[in-house]
Chain length 404, copies 2
């Protein structure tokens, strides 16, 4: 069943960048697109009205979190995620795989999507020990699925490909993802290879398990930082009847590694599929991704940074609690069209953060999200106008100069 | 200088309730009116757009807090409170007197506007001892003004009538209040009498200190829970060239006491003055106040309760984290026209509170403020229609029945 239709409007001549239109049950998404993250069925602090006003076309919600709380049956009984959140535009849910591993194995070893330490060869099975928050945290993978403990109360749970799909059908997002094992950057080649083979078997089970809902199902490419595994995964996922693809897992130890992973992967994916790069969304990464053929992004950075008073501006990041802004009557960013910049000064923002007022994180989040959404809108316009390379150069020259 | 014009549109025939129009530099305020409290130049969690949408006509900000942070000179340099907050409608600032005492004396003795213990005869001077938060908290009154320590960092400060007026002129609210001593409910008759005489001398100094700004200056009636002092204060303040009046200080130990204080005070105030009852705003208190001739109210209860998930409904208060609402698809209040009730279920609100999401307190605050703003709008309509008593009876029958 084809439920998502994706049309490439314009292919850049000097890179893999492209502008497209993804048509989903709740509307069209113009790509490339940056989607705010609404982990627990809410983009932290913002209403749907504000998300619309800042140009969000689609939001991501996390299956792992919503499975644990409030539970997929309850979400379904209340009419699905769209009705629950009062968000009438498209939604994408991840499969739960990433959180199962990142809140178990990943959190204990302090590793994220880009490893800070050199990957060591790991043993046959992934088993995490006792967590540090007062209850055992155990993640155990077998051929059929994953057993894990809740990060909320330590209760035991199990996800399988079939269960993940059923949960995502209950949640009712426009785009759902296949259930995968997100291997640690610390896992060596042999373990990553075995896990990848299992993830591929799970991909087929996800396709078999899907019911005739109007939801697009995306496959997930894994394979860690290994070229042969990434290529194999891209080819295998491309051979299956998915509606699109997400690129997940460890992307290596540097931004250069991440770029290589994309260069290995994207050429083997169908041009007709929308491609989502999971969990990546710093401004420079958005350019790098788009240039390598990525259409869709999500990242918690703009919301998380905003809550801590760190604000994106064209020449880097601004820490609003800095005393330098105490009397600054300027908006966060001159010319920015976000609600915050149109109404409030840096001095007021700083006051709100210093005084620990809720409105501060909210206004900062609005600005950061608008900054990224607009940046990707500008990339799209530049692709359509045949000047993506110039757009990228102009942004990065200023962005990187300020960081040098 | 007359800067505020107040016109009584309709006087209720069975009570002192009245409907009026208060014209201020930033617009008209239809009375009776409930004003949200924006202590630190922000109504906690809400944008000005949301305040407008829920029908707020005027907000109150606290001189004490803004004097300490970010400071009146900075607010003035940034264009005043209206520009700082991006709030284009009227603002009222209190004088700082209440917080100087409530954050000093009041906090230590655990007393608020209505005493929980019987008032004891107090000595000649108010001197609070060492506060419990790591620094000395000392409030000392003399004929000229008050010396106190900041609740933020323990630094020493001094307010006088002249300084309070100058600070409020820097802040730039439409309505400013005379600087007064808010005596503790624990103060006895003799101390309250002496303090009242001093507050009256300060009232004259405030009038003498005001500059020709387009700000309305309200006097404050004090006198604790003593009939002769309240009557004397009302008559004295009424004899001065103020633009309106606020009723402050200890209102006794019960709602009946508060009603008596209003019954003693209001008959001695000019009909042509708008009358503000400081810091009172529970639904039943709004009816009691309006019936006794009060035109303006402010209270932190709706915002504070909202942040803790306690929601006003016509038959009382609803604690949204209660398990009973886990699967409840209904809005907080059927038929409520607030943004929250038009878009979200009790089950979603409960999820947000249980998951500790920022959006929960925000949505709850919107509902509670709209509930009170609309309640007072309904009182106004009922006064204009000559059916205030029926409106009051209908509301209180349901409200009190549920609490019985």
């Amino acid at each position: 069943m084809v439920v998502a239709s994706f049309r490439v409007e314009k292919q850049d001549s000097q890179s893999r960048a492209r502008a497209g239109v993804l048509t989903l049950p709740h509307g069209e998404v113009l790509t490339p697109v940056f989607m705010p993250v609404g982990t627990q069925a809410t983009v932290k602090g913002l209403t749907p009205v504000e998300l619309e006003a800042l140009g969000a076309q689609i939001v991501l919600a996390n299956t792992y979190h919503l499975y644990l709380r409030p539970g997929p049956e309850l979400v379904a009984a209340l009419g699905g995620l769209h009705a629950l959140m009062a968000w009438e535009r498209p939604i994408l849910t991840d499969s739960g795989g990433f959180q199962v591993f990142s809140l178990g194995f990943g959190r204990e070893h302090g590793v994220g999507k880009i490893a800070k330490t050199f990957p060591a060869e790991a043993g046959g099975g992934v088993q995490a020990g006792t967590g540090g928050r007062g209850h055992a945290r155990l993640t155990r993978v077998d051929e059929d699925g994953v057993t894990f403990t809740s990060h909320i109360d330590g209760s035991p749970h199990r996800l399988t490909p079939e269960r993940s799909i059923r949960i995502q059908e209950d949640l009712g997002a426009d785009v759902i993802l296949a259930f995968d094992e997100c291997t640690s950057p610390l896992a060596g080649y042999e373990y990553t290879r075995q896990a990848l083979a299992r993830t591929h078997r799970w991909a087929e089970r996800c396709l078999a398990a899907r019911q005739p809902t109007p939801q697009a199902l995306f496959g997930i490419v894994q394979g860690g930082e290994y070229q042969d595994l990434r290529e194999e995964s891209a080819r295998f996922i491309a051979s299956l009847p998915f509606d699109g693809v997400a690129i997940g897992g460890s992307l290596g130890q540097s931004k250069a590694d991440m770029h290589r992973v994309l260069d290995w992967t994207v050429p083997h994916l169908p041009d007709a599929w929308p491609r989502h790069l999971l969990g990546i969304g710093e401004p420079e990464d958005l350019f790098a991704g788009v240039a390598r053929g990525v259409d869709m992004f999500d990242c918690v950075a703009p919301t998380r940074l905003g809550r801590h008073g760190v604000l994106y501006v064209p020449d880097g990041r601004l820490h609003i609690d800095n005393a330098a802004y105490r009397e600054d009557p300027a908006p966060i960013q001159d010319g920015c069209d976000c609600y915050t910049c149109r109404h409030f000064s840096r001095a007021y923002l700083r006051h709100l953060f210093v005084a620990n007022e809720m409105l501060g994180p909210r206004l900062a989040t609005i600005h950061n999200l608008r900054f990224l959404v607009r940046l990707v809108e500008e990339m799209r316009q530049s692709i359509l106008a045949g000047r993506f390379a110039a757009c990228q150069r102009a942004f990065l020259d200023r962005w990187q100069a300020a960081r040098a």
